[in-house]
Symmetry: C2
Amino acid sequence: MLSKLKTLLIGTPLPTIELAEKRLNKIRALAAFSPDALSSIAYANQEIYLGLVVAGSAGLSLAWPIGLAITGLLVIVAISYYQTIQGYPSGGGSYVVARKNLGTLPGLITAAALLIGYLLTAAVSLTAGVEAIASAIPSLWPYRVEIALFLLAVIAIANLRGLRESGTLMAVPVYLFLFTYLPMLAYGLVRLLIDGVTPLETIAPAPVTGVTLFLILHTFSAGCTALTGIEAISNGVPAFRPPEAKNAGRTIQVMAALMAILFVGSIGLTQYLGVTAEAQETILSAMARRLLGDGPFYLLIQITTMLILAVAANTSFAGFPRLAAILARDGFIPRQLSNLGDRLVFANGIILLAVATGGLIILFGGDSHLLIPLFAVGVFLAFTLSQAGMVRHWWRERQPGWQLKAVLNGLGALATGTTVLIIGISKFVEGAWITVVIIPVLVFGFLQISAHYRSVSHQLSLHGLPPDIKPSPPLRVVLPISGVHRGMVEAVNFARSISSDVTAVYIELEPGGAEHVRQQWQRLWPDVNLVVLPSPYRSIIRPLLEYLDQTDREHHDGRLAAVVLPEFVPARWWQALLHNQTTWMLKTALLYRRRNLGYQRVIIDMPFHLKD
Amino acid sequence: MLSKLKTLLIGTPLPTIELAEKRLNKIRALAAFSPDALSSIAYANQEIYLGLVVAGSAGLSLAWPIGLAITGLLVIVAISYYQTIQGYPSGGGSYVVARKNLGTLPGLITAAALLIGYLLTAAVSLTAGVEAIASAIPSLWPYRVEIALFLLAVIAIANLRGLRESGTLMAVPVYLFLFTYLPMLAYGLVRLLIDGVTPLETIAPAPVTGVTLFLILHTFSAGCTALTGIEAISNGVPAFRPPEAKNAGRTIQVMAALMAILFVGSIGLTQYLGVTAEAQETILSAMARRLLGDGPFYLLIQITTMLILAVAANTSFAGFPRLAAILARDGFIPRQLSNLGDRLVFANGIILLAVATGGLIILFGGDSHLLIPLFAVGVFLAFTLSQAGMVRHWWRERQPGWQLKAVLNGLGALATGTTVLIIGISKFVEGAWITVVIIPVLVFGFLQISAHYRSVSHQLSLHGLPPDIKPSPPLRVVLPISGVHRGMVEAVNFARSISSDVTAVYIELEPGGAEHVRQQWQRLWPDVNLVVLPSPYRSIIRPLLEYLDQTDREHHDGRLAAVVLPEFVPARWWQALLHNQTTWMLKTALLYRRRNLGYQRVIIDMPFHLKD
């Protein structure tokens, strides 16, 4: 039944041979790699507005300069990643670049930052998308968590089915977004030229606080989330049609230009048109409502915003499992994360991301504003380490003109590194500390896991082992019995067929209870030794383990001890609840017991299938 | 670590030999068996008040007559149970009486009703107890669920440690209750004689509805919860000092008299003193406050009420596990419920009751009034069947004077049976339907489980089985391998030591991946056959199971097939998360696969213990 449900949701398994990449032209590639980057304006603008509005009109008048500063940073970072594309046309990705050039530890820090970044992209995009639609339909506002979880489930299932981020379906929201937002901004500019600037003093709420340096840095760092997603193209260069690096380079230029236009345009219009938002509305929604009224155009803008944010969340479902699979192959996280699922996707990574995202959405009540402080630290840390890695890369290669390239990437590293510090300090109390704590914890975990895998691989090595063809010495067999009944017969026969040294063991729970068992046993198998162990504390497992340890010590002759366990298998699953799980507990106890004593014990399970 | 926590909470295991009953004198026996019965007035009065207050003063003036009618019923039921004690001095209990005299089905219906009754006694007593204390300390009112769950946890842990309901600790609240309530009622009577009757018209809230027959029946049936617990003594006759039946008979007389005085006294005083209660206070609390003011005496009364209700909930923790153990021994519910835990208590029954009670408290928001409709149906159904069983008992024995005894029990059955109908109909919509639905479901479950156990016992019977000493035919051994490594060596040696027919099987996940494995295998074990199975869908388990089925069909020669599974055992528990659980899944699949084909398969587990 479970397996049918799985097939219904996920689809039938696909053979491994269907695993192949389609190459993308620039139009499709832009749609595939840009949703996260373009949609960032939805929450970045909101953060800048919320950061400044507490200082009234004096605060809000800083939106434009802060927006320009962030756009400057955007240009620097875009140039840096343009260079990464040229340096790693095979699709580096920040983890690969940092690990190769800076070493394992910086690589792992980058990986931890990226994993957190993917997780928060999914959580922030989904909550911001739901906020966009709930701004237009206020009755949805109280159900933001539920709606976000529903969207999350749809995206997770679609990805488990094997949805490709390169599909046409994914391209529609991206171009719909561009072809509604850009005309709206142009229309807004025309209105601004006709109507003139609305002075902020007339519309801004009374200031709660003054303009301080902290307020400015705080707002700047929150607004830096506008840059998230800009690195996506550099991870996916091999997906472009040849010449890959050149096409990818052109695409990142176009994308960065669009990001800058959308970001600066919307910030500027908001400020100079004098737009403010209510508590249950986003500032982008308020701006669209101001320009387009409450009609269908406004609704289209909000739906489009939600759709591109959902697609942005979807890009995390491509990036996170892929990075997790690379880390798993490198032995830093559990290997299961590199398993290809039925539909040729990294199913475990998708499920892990979905569960973590859902947890974050519930924990933070579906409020994107509360999630943002966790977000930017990780992203900018990965930027910094990746750019620093590129500087090292150019220095190592030292091809003609390397100095300029190194300087450009160095500028990127410096700018993003400074931003990390600003974000880390100004947002520390609000949640950045969570990321600051989790990254070292993750890296420590990566290293522990890696040490374990290396130790196992060493223990399993055949190095120095001669071909060993000596047969094992004769077996001692111990056969724990729960009574004398038909389920015993095959077990006794089997035990005697593999060894001449068989001992049955009966645990006596009530004083005198063993007499009847002993008589029946004598009648059926007079030549098999029966040992009765009293158990004054009614435990079955403890006396048996103690008996096995004791006989192992007595027979320290290198002979293997095998334990034959007769086990009832009920016909229906619920019937398992009607039987003591003694055999199962005994198997588990035997498997994990005394791994240091060096006794090798074989556990032999004799299923006895019950009918009905 | 888990085991240490268990020892801390529950204590160290006790040997079976300490299992013995202490005999109780009448003073202690009253304390042990009466808390549930005596404390019933706390919620019964509340129900009568809530049932009548909606009809204003005209309604409230019916409290006294309804109280008298319920007291009449109390006398009839007490006489019936007095006779049960005489008829079953070995401690019948309603289930035993009904099953012996009326047959299995009525017995099981009684058992289901009793189990539900115990569960609801715990839930209602705890919530009513918390309401008593929250009436005195209103700031606790919003936290009733949390407080009730905390008390529940304390009671459950105490019972898992092996608390006896006969302990001195349990007797204190009972006698404290009697020695505070009886004087308070006497004082109230004196005040009533001095001050005279307060007319209800002056104090009752305006009627919302008129007095109807339905209102009266509805209130009567809710008030019948005053009788719950009256049967407890009849279950515990063997715990009395000899002459057991005589002492138990005297005790039930005293208990019934106390119940009647407390019930009628508090109902009468409430009505004639003209007491009404606020929404967040119980009527008993309002009466105590009226008589004693807000001072320490009032607080003592409320604390005492809570304590006796907690002790009443505790009696469920004695009765439920004991009845469950009897049903488990009779094979009607899972056998694990008859296991004696470390501390010589039926630990599984205690845990089951605690979880179910906690669930009810949360589900009904800690409101005793909402739980009451579920409560009385079950209790009175058990009363009825038990009394009907007694009629049959006397008729069967037909000793001198049996007619009178049969008539008395018949009267009990008739009165309680009528009450069941009244409760079932008047409270149906409010929740009695839940009990009406659950009782048949439980009985159906009992019968299914019983059928399963009988079928198993039949299948395990040695009847007709000749002593079978023929050794099994030679084994075929299949050895699934994940690669060639050191963990394989012992497994191959063992397989060859028990059989000359060993086949290693390798599942090839990626086309061409097997070549390297085959070469290594050839080098180490050239004389052991290696089969490579391609797996285009990347499943390991399915191709292996299909191979096993196919070879079983080919070799349909009665030979056993054994599967030897090398299994890594990590040194630390968390490391298990770092390895594919393939061996575990394979073991499970082999255990449950194709039970109808009749192939017997032996599953042999070769643990390979990893260091660190």
